[in-house]
Each structure stands twice: as C-alpha cells, then as structure tokens.
C-alpha cells in the first residue's frame, strides 16, 4: 500500500488549520529552502523531474529557469481554476490542506524571485476561497508571508482572486487576462508568461497540485522523489475516479500505477459485475482508453504511447452499457458552452459538432454525418489560439475512431440507450 505524500494530512481533524499543519511538519521545507540559494533550488527541482500536474506536464524546474533574473517585477500565479470535467483534486487540496500549497508557492516564488503570488480560484469554490483566505492570513501572522520571511530578507505577498465562471480561465494566458480584470480570452503564445505575463511582467504559472509537491522535494531530496513513480514521470499523482465504479474519490498513487489497479483495487471495480467499455484517463479533453489497454501505466509516456494523455489524472469509467455517442455529445455540450468565442474554429466548429451529435442521438442523423464530424475535427484541431480546440476535438475524434460501429448503429434511428 502506497503511503500518501500529498494527501497524508487530509484525514486529520482540522487538517486545514495552520496548527495542524505545523504540528505535522509544516513549513519546515520553507525554512530549508530559504537557507538555499535560488539557483540550488531550481537545480534541485530540475533533478527531481517534477512535471506540471495541470494537464500539460511541462517540467517544473525548466519552467523556473525560464524566469528572467534581472526583471524588476516578477509574479507567481497559482492556478486554482479547476474545471476540467471529472477533476476534483485541487478542490480537495485547497479545502483540506491549503498550507501545503501555500508553502510550495512561497518556495517557488523564492526560487524565481517573485514579489507577489496571485491565487486565481474558480468562482464557484466558495469554501475554497474561505479556506485560502484564512490560511493566507494565518501564514502572514506566523511570518511565512510578508516582509523578511523567517529572517531571510525575502518578501512575498499573496492574495486571492475569484474567477467568475469560465472554464477557459484555467488556460494560463486567459487566467492572466482575467486577473487583470479583462475577459478571460487566451493570448497568443509566444511570448510565454515567463517572459510576458501579468501586466506584461514575467509570471510563473503553476497548478495547485504541482506546487503541493514542492515542499516534499525540498524536505526529502530529489533522489527520494525520483524513487517514486517511473523514470521520466516521477512522484505521486492524485487520481480522481468517477463514473461507473463502486468507490468514487481521490486516490494518491505513484505515477505509472496501472489504470486497472486504480479502477479495481482502489475504486472497487465496476458495479453490477459489468464489463468495462471505455475510460477517460485524464479529464474530458483526453482521448478514450478502451478495455484492451486498461492495464496501461498511468504516466505521461505510457498514455501518450497509446494515443491518449495523462491530463489532470481525472479517470472517468464507463461500463459496457454506456452509449459512447451520448458521451461524445455530453463532452461536446461542455466544450461548446465553454468556448470563449475568440477564435472561429472553436466557437463555430464546437457548435456545429454539438448540433450534429445532437441530431444523431435524436435519430435524425444523415448519411455523411460521420465524415462531417471528422471534417470539423480536422478544421478545429491545431487551428486555435489556445489548447481548447484540441481539447474539444479529443473526445469526439477518439469516439469516432474507437466506436465507429456505435455511430453507424445510430444512423438512422437515434440512440436506443438515450431513449
């Protein structure tokens, strides 16, 4: 049984308080980090091979090293805009153990020389906002934030900023626009936020779970960290399991744990003795994994090798009775609704995909609709400002590829499962 690292405190009573955090090793990593040079910290995190947990999996230490040294103003943005369908790990981390993320954020800010950390939190996370604010106030009161943190001479302020209901603000440049009080539309990249970020200044953007890993690397060393997970996907990962399983919830396991182990040994398997049909392995924007690949190790490389992605580690399980066209329709509905409208392929294409899928499910599908769907996917993927276009296409195209027979059965006559 794997001993949780990131979630080891969440079941303690009052785990969200600074008292419980301090009594369980909290802020020891910060003390150690402040005794190190920023360069040594960046090197340590590089050696740990920690990769971003928000979906893209970019190497964290490399991202830190992209931050310019000589800039007058630098910022850190903590991305707490969790909205990828199937994902509920960041909510858990900030509601149950906010100080772990704050400590990781302070260490990251010190390593890159940021003067202010902006916590951008999903507007709907009312409890999360309360917990963050309380935790930040307590961290100030204990001298972990503010001027001359723990006598190191390092200053850092941290403030919480509520989003207002827009999935796209989880995209880092859209989030920066939203932080600036604008419409949350993505910016074209490059330049990347590490060069031109919040108010044009260099900004390091990290997912909550990524930052939660940082204190443990500092405390236990990069060698220890590399001992968890696989060679190139190191460390623990919080998997969110939902859909057709006995025990939905969050499970922290080393990267590389087989998908089947998570579904059966941890989430209790599929109810009713039913067979597995498909799994979304990393949130709604990752291509489906079918039963034949259910033993795939849950790490960046193994999932990429079978044409899918680790994404946020949000595992959505679907049993044999699930209509995959209906699933595609639901994914399309989400993405069409959440398209920010800035660029045409996503705005119009998403809507067209939704309309086509709706008519197929309703029994009004026409010959050629499958080809039309493929053509729309081709027109969207790779042709948008931000990754949302690719995200929107992933579940549609993979359902067309993997479940062509189900689509064929819907033409004509509609969806037997939906009626």
């Amino acid at each position: 049984m794997f001993e949780p690292i990131l979630l080891r405190r969440v079941d303690l009573p009052r785990s969200e308080t600074i008292e419980v955090y301090l009594a369980n090793g909290g802020y020891q990593a910060l003390r150690q980090a402040l005794a190190m040079s920023p360069d040594d910290l960046v090197a340590m995190v590089k050696r740990s091979k920690l990769r971003g947990r928000g979906g893209a999996g970019f190497p964290t230490g490399l991202k830190w090293s992209f931050m310019p040294r000589d800039a007058e103003h630098k910022y850190l943005a903590v991305n707490t805009d969790e909205g990828e369908p199937g994902t509920f790990k960041d909510r858990k981390l900030i509601e149950e153990d906010p100080h772990q993320v704050i400590e990781g954020a302070i260490i990251a800010a010190y390593a890159v020389g940021a003067e202010h950390a902006f916590v951008y939190i999903r507007g709907e996370f009312f409890l999360g906002v309360k917990r963050w604010n309380k935790a930040i106030n307590d961290a100030y009161a204990h001298g972990f934030l503010g001027k001359d943190i723990m006598g190191s001479g390092f200053d850092l302020d941290m403030t919480v900023h509520r989003g207002a209901g827009a999935y796209i603000c989880g995209e880092e440049t859209a989030m920066l626009n939203s932080l600036e009080g604008r419409r949350g539309e993505p910016r074209i990249k490059p330049p990347y936020p590490a060069q031109v970020g919040y108010h044009q200044e260099p900004t390091l953007v990290h997912n909550v779970e990524t930052l939660a890993n940082v204190p443990h690397i500092v405390l236990n060393g990069d060698e220890w960290y590399r001992g968890v997970g696989t060679e190139n996907s190191t460390g623990p990962k919080i998997f969110c399991v939902s859909g057709h399983v006995y025990r939905r919830g969050v499970y922290e396991l080393p990267l590389g744990t087989p998908l089947s182990t998570i579904i059966h040994d941890y989430a209790g398997g599929i109810p009713g003795g039913k067979q597995l049909k498909a799994v979304i392995p990393g949130g709604a924007s990752t291509p489906f994994v079918t039963a034949k690949n259910v033993d795939v190790p849950m790490d960046f490389e193994s999932l990429a090798a079978i044409g899918s992605a680790l994404g946020t580690g949000a595992i959505v399980v679907m049993d044999e009775d699930t209509c995959m066209v209906d699933v595609a329709l639901r994914a399309a509905r989400f993405f069409a609704h959440e398209s920010c409208g800035k660029c045409t392929p996503c705005r119009v294409g998403g809507r067209r995909i939704l309309d086509l899928l709706q008519r197929i499910v309703d029994g009004a599908g026409a010959p050629g609709d499958i080809e039309r769907l493929y053509s729309l996917c081709d027109g969207i993927a790779g042709h948008t400002f931000c990754p949302m276009g690719d995200a929107m296409v992933a579940p549609i195209r993979s359902s067309l590829d993997l479940f062509a027979d189900e689509y064929q059965r819907h033409l004509p006559g509609g969806c037997a499962a939906a009626h």
């Binding site: 900023h161 209901g165 859909g243 057709h244």
Partner: protein, 151 residues
C-alpha cells in the same frame, strides 16, 4: 515603447479590481443592473461598455434578476454516468414548477443546470447560492427546500 511598470501602476491596476467590484455590485443590486454597471465604471474610471463587455463574459455575473436562492444542478458527464443527476433535475423541475433557466413567481428560487461543480465523486450534487449539497436523496432535497422557502 510603454514602460510596463508605469502602465501597471495606474489604469491597469484599477481595472484589475473589476471582477471583485462586479461581485460587490451584484451583491448590492441583486444583479448587474444598468445603474450597477454605471457605478462600477465610474469608480474604476472605465467606460461602461468595457465593464459590460467583461461582465457578460463570465457566467457568475447575472445580467437579469434571479431568485433569492439559485439552485445549480450538475449535468456533466461524471454526474450523468453515476446516475441520479437527471432525476434530481427532473425532481426540482416538478417540485418548483419551473424549467432550468427560470425563476419561481415568488422570486424565491431559480433553477440552473450547469456543466461541472467539481463534485464528480459526490453526485448527485446541487449548489444553493454558496452551499454545496452532495450525495443527495429526494428526502434531503425536500428538507433543504422546505427550510429555505416552505414549499
């Protein structure tokens, strides 16, 4: 070339307060009336059109009146697969006598179907204003509604 530090020190820093200001205005006015938008614009030295443009981008800002209690039900994929989310919505439609997107005549309840509440592990779930209710049964829904409005 514009000096970024200078830019960030004045107008831009005021604008950065816009999302917060809109929440405050919404709290005071119930929704973002023309007057609310106008006042926010004056306070932040922005054109009202810019305020409006930003407010309408985000789903949590209301541009028309809503009920005192706004009930959100998740119809996302995970909630759908787990079962019960649709039945919860149907039950609320029947009990409140309104469709999603509508408000009861007495102005007490609005019903909204949403895409994700990040509560995939504890559905059926609904949010009433700022409180999330999870693993709901019809009896629990009844007692919540009774407590809020006696229906």
């Amino acid at each position: 070339m514009i000096n970024p530090g200078q830019l960030a020190s004045t107008d831009a820093m005021e604008r950065a307060r816009l999302l917060t200001a809109l929440y405050v205005a919404q709290e005071q006015y119930g929704y973002l009336t023309d007057e609310a938008v106008q006042r926010v614009a004056e306070r932040l030295h922005m054109a009202p059109g810019k305020v409006y443009e930003t407010a309408t981008f985000y789903s949590m800002y209301r541009m028309q009146p809503m009920g005192r209690y706004v009930i959100q039900v998740c119809e996302g994929l995970s909630c759908h697969l787990a079962g019960g989310a649709e039945r919860l919505l149907d039950y609320l439609v029947e009990r409140l006598g309104i469709s999603p997107g509508e408000t009861t005549e007495d102005g007490l309840f609005s019903l909204v179907s949403v895409q994700c509440l990040a509560a995939c592990d504890v559905s059926p779930a609904m949010r009433v204003n700022d409180t999330l209710y999870t693993d709901l049964t019809f009896d629990e829904v009844d007692s919540i509604l009774d407590r809020l409005g006696g229906r």
